[in-house]
């Protein structure tokens, strides 16, 4: 006890190598997978392919980072597919059909998404609906609304310049990749180095203790849903920009991939544990797997099977690692 400071320094992070491995297992797996692919697949190691992977991982990881906040507080947001669809349809509708300037259209869809986030949060916090059911309901209501508006048809006619968001380059690096890195960096600092960011972990780890420690748990919970909706909406704008058309089906198969990414990234499904860059690595990992399967001409249906198995393996390992 006398040499406390010494112990303090030596054990700066109080973590053994084993717990480091536990926390960053996905990074190690990712590096291994990447190296193996580079060595064994000639088509994989081209700059163009690598950039492609990065670009494809960028918007999905922005969306996954949104879901990350909701899962971090121990909830789940099923409505992201509809927020993505809604953003895509109303943005395209406003710009292509009603002639609203792109800038204002972006602001309006972000505002709409934020409102949906508030509704999701309110249903969960004040309505005491299990978030799974609450957001599932919101998902269907939203879907109904934008299908009524678009009659289920795609909306094309977006200006070419908008294409930059999803397909532009700065030097050799795709713009979406830079956007993703900036978003991730801001969120990393937010979660690790601000009072509000730490509060998400406090709420997810033990909501009662957080409340008794003076954290505004209702605000934090609602805010998590708002962040989720906003990031989903930003992700949707990126995806819309790539095809230059609004599409009702744009978010349809994303929910599963998003959940897989968040969990792959080391986020605990029961809340309170997870890292922003873990989620980014999770997105890259999943994208590399998809890319390899495409290069090896594995058909889409088999890809679903493989991704499903990955999710099962990760969740089972995660759930069992807590039983020590």
């Amino acid at each position: 006890m006398s040499s406390l400071e010494v112990v303090e320094k030596k054990n700066r992070y109080g973590k053994s190598f084993k717990s480091f491995l536990n926390e960053w297992m996905i990074l190690i797996l990712f590096i291994a997978l990447f190296l193996i692919s580079v060595v064994s697949l000639p088509k994989f190691r081209t700059t163009r392919n690598i950039m492609n992977i990065l670009r494809q991982a960028s918007f999905i990881s922005i969306i996954a980072l949104g879901e990350f906040f909701v899962i971090l507080i121990g909830n789940m947001d099923m409505s992201i597919t509809s927020i993505i669809g809604m953003t895509s349809i109303y943005f395209s509708g406003m710009v292509a059909n009603s002639g609203v300037p792109v800038f204002w259209a972006i602001l309006i869809v972000l505002l709409l998404s934020a409102i949906v986030g508030v509704i999701n949060g309110m249903l969960t916090v004040y309505g005491r609906m299990p978030s799974f059911i609450g957001t599932l309901t919101v998902m269907n209501i939203l879907k109904g609304i934008y299908f009524i508006y678009s009659k289920g048809l795609p909306i094309s006619g977006l200006p070419e310049s908008f294409n930059f968001l999803g397909a532009g380059y700065i030097g050799v690096i795709p713009f979406p990749v830079i956007l993703m890195l900036v978003v991730a960096l801001i969120l990393h600092i937010f979660t690790q180095h601000t009072e509000m960011g730490r509060s998400f972990y406090a709420v997810g780890g033990n909501i009662e203790a957080a409340k008794l420690s003076g954290i505004n748990i209702k605000f934090i919970s609602v805010f998590a849903f708002v962040i989720c909706a906003l990031l989903s909406s930003i992700g949707s704008l990126g995806l819309t920009s790539r095809s230059l058309s609004g599409n009702v089906m744009i978010g349809e198969n994303l929910l599963f991939d998003v959940m897989t990414i968040v969990v792959l990234g080391g986020t605990s499904l029961t809340g309170g544990r997870g890292k922003v860059f873990g989620v980014v690595i999770g997105a890259l990992f999943l994208q590399v797997i998809s890319n390899i399967m495409i290069l090896m001409s594995v058909n889409t249906y088999w890809q679903w099977v493989v991704k499903g198995i990955i999710l099962i393996v990760v969740v089972v390992i995660d759930a069992n690692s807590k039983h020590d």
Partner: protein
């Protein structure tokens, strides 16, 4: 009935990777006796009981049950069960949504073909309750039962197979005075039938009240055993902690300052009504009462975490409104809740983050970012003052012992520089040594001019620490006892609602 060794443990050693949890321990249990197994947390009490029930297999040594030597490598919980050894735990292993009857017979239903014979079960259940001489409706869902009644269900379940040995593993830790007395009554009953009881408890008074013999363990080693009637409490404490403890309770502070907190006419929808209470600087105010008297609810109401129908709060003479914990904290209140794992700590956080959880806004860099280094320095300083035993500030709190976890919760509010500390059962499930540290902490807080409200089911604790005691009975303050009038007799009378004519 002639006394025979129901259980005999010889030279038991239990080695876990890196630790010797038990070192050459001897233990015997006679038929018809209640044998107190005492020691601090980590002394090896539960390890020994787990060796006896076959949950662990001892590394070395012999175990005899009713004179028959047990083949250790093939010894299991199932086997010990067949040999007539039962254990009743402190934690409820009951299904809250099933009724008492189902909880007792779950897995051992009486059936007629594939159909459960409820009538027969009801009859058997009633027989068990008759045996325990306790009146209880078995048709009620367990979640609606009181703590003491849940314990009865657990006991009934253990008695189902007519065991010869029953281990009471800190059964009374969650019970109030009347529930404990009831357990003692049942122990006498069981003893009279020749059943041997191993009694594990942190409350030494209980050992003297209900045990015939004792065995003391300290750091996994056998210290002593003998007849309870031959020793006094001081000697027992000395054996348990390996040193002498003169003054259990630090001297009470006599210097009181201004009024810090006043509450007037506090009434909750169901738990309490018309409660008036005040705390001055430097004062420890005790709230005593049986389970269900409304103590915890009152404490949470003061902290803005329990619904009120009416009531006023004055902080330092100024009337204020406290609607939620955030406002309570703003006005200088801090709460140390009874369930520290459920309400006090974030088990996924390390020591630093738990310590600074309520004071993050004091450690800002450029008003936005958290200054983690400053946080760590502050947390280190406060935890050193509290004599916290730990490896690193970055260690998760779930690996700490109960006493050290409690210190982290207290550190959280000391760091926040609260004026009034609301403590709810601060020594629940904490071993003797750590208890004394918590006591001196409470007294230091008072000496530093803080106000303390102390809720505890342990009368002795309330008496030993408080300057004034409010006694609650069924949601009402029955009496306020001050200074030298704070005695066991007076409080117990009030506790039980005895009103002098």
């Amino acid at each position: 009935m002639a006394a025979e060794n129901l259980i005999e443990v010889r030279n038991c050693t239990m080695v876990f990777p890196g630790v010797k949890a038990l070192d050459n321990v001897d233990f015997t249990l006679l038929a018809g006796e209640c044998h107190g197994l005492v020691g601090e947390n980590g002394a090896g009490k539960s390890t020994l009981s787990k060796c006896i029930i076959g949950d662990y297999r001892m590394s070395e040594g012999q175990l005899f049950v009713k004179g028959e030597e047990i083949h250790i490598p093939s010894y299991t919980v199932r086997k010990s069960h067949e040999m007539g050894i039962a254990i009743v735990h402190q934690e409820f292993q009951l299904m809250e949504d099933l009724n008492g009857l189902e909880n007792i017979f779950i897995g051992r239903y009486e059936k007629r073909g594939p159909i459960i014979d409820w009538k027969k079960l009801q009859k058997k259940g009633e027989e068990l309750l008759e045996y325990l001489q306790y009146d209880l409706d078995l048709k009620v869902k367990v979640k609606h039962l009181r703590t003491a009644e849940k314990q009865i269900i657990q006991l009934a379940k253990a008695l189902l197979d007519n065991p010869d040995v029953i281990i009471f593993d800190e059964l009374t830790a969650v019970l109030q005075e009347d529930g404990i007395q009831n357990i003692f009554r049942i122990i006498d009953l069981l003893k009279a039938k020749g059943i041997g009881i191993i009694y594990i408890s942190h409350r030494l008074d209980e050992i003297f009240e209900c045990c015939d013999r004792y065995t003391v363990l300290c750091d996994g080693k056998y210290v002593n055993s003998g007849f309870v009637k031959d020793i006094d409490k001081g000697e027992l404490v000395k054996m348990i902690i390996g040193r002498e403890l003169k003054n259990v309770y630090p001297p009470k502070s006599e210097q009181f300052g201004d009024l810090l907190l006043e509450i007037k006419n506090f009434t909750s929808p169901t738990s309490f009504r018309d409660v008036n209470l005040e705390v001055r600087a430097g004062e420890v105010v005790g709230i005593s009462g049986l389970l269900g008297a409304g103590k915890t609810e009152l404490l949470h109401a003061i902290f803005g975490n329990h619904k009120l129908v009416s009531g006023e709060v004055l902080i330092k003479g100024e009337p204020v409104k406290i609607r939620n914990p955030q406002q309570a904290i703003k006005y200088g209140l801090g709460v140390i809740p009874d369930e520290r794992r459920l309400l006090g700590l974030n088990m996924l956080f390390n020591i630093r983050d738990n310590t600074t959880l309520a004071s993050m806004k004091f450690f800002k860099k450029w008003k936005v970012f958290q200054n983690h280094r400053k946080e760590a320095e502050a947390a280190l300083e406060i935890n050193k003052r509290l004599n916290l035993r730990y490896h690193s500030l970055y260690q998760l709190v779930n690996k700490l012992s109960g006493g050290n976890q409690q210190k982290v919760v207290i550190a959280k509010w000391m760091l926040r520089n609260c004026d009034v500390f609301l403590l709810d059962e601060p020594t629940r499930g904490i071993d003797v040594g750590a208890k004394f540290e918590i006591y001196s902490l409470i007294s230091e807080l008072a000496k530093a001019g803080k106000g303390v409200i102390l809720v505890s089911p342990e009368l002795e604790e309330i008496i030993g620490l408080s300057n004034r005691v409010y006694v609650m009975y069924e949601g009402k303050i029955m009496d306020v006892v001050e200074g030298e009038n704070i005695t066991q007799e007076v409080i117990i009378q009030d506790l039980l609602g005895v009103v002098e004519a």
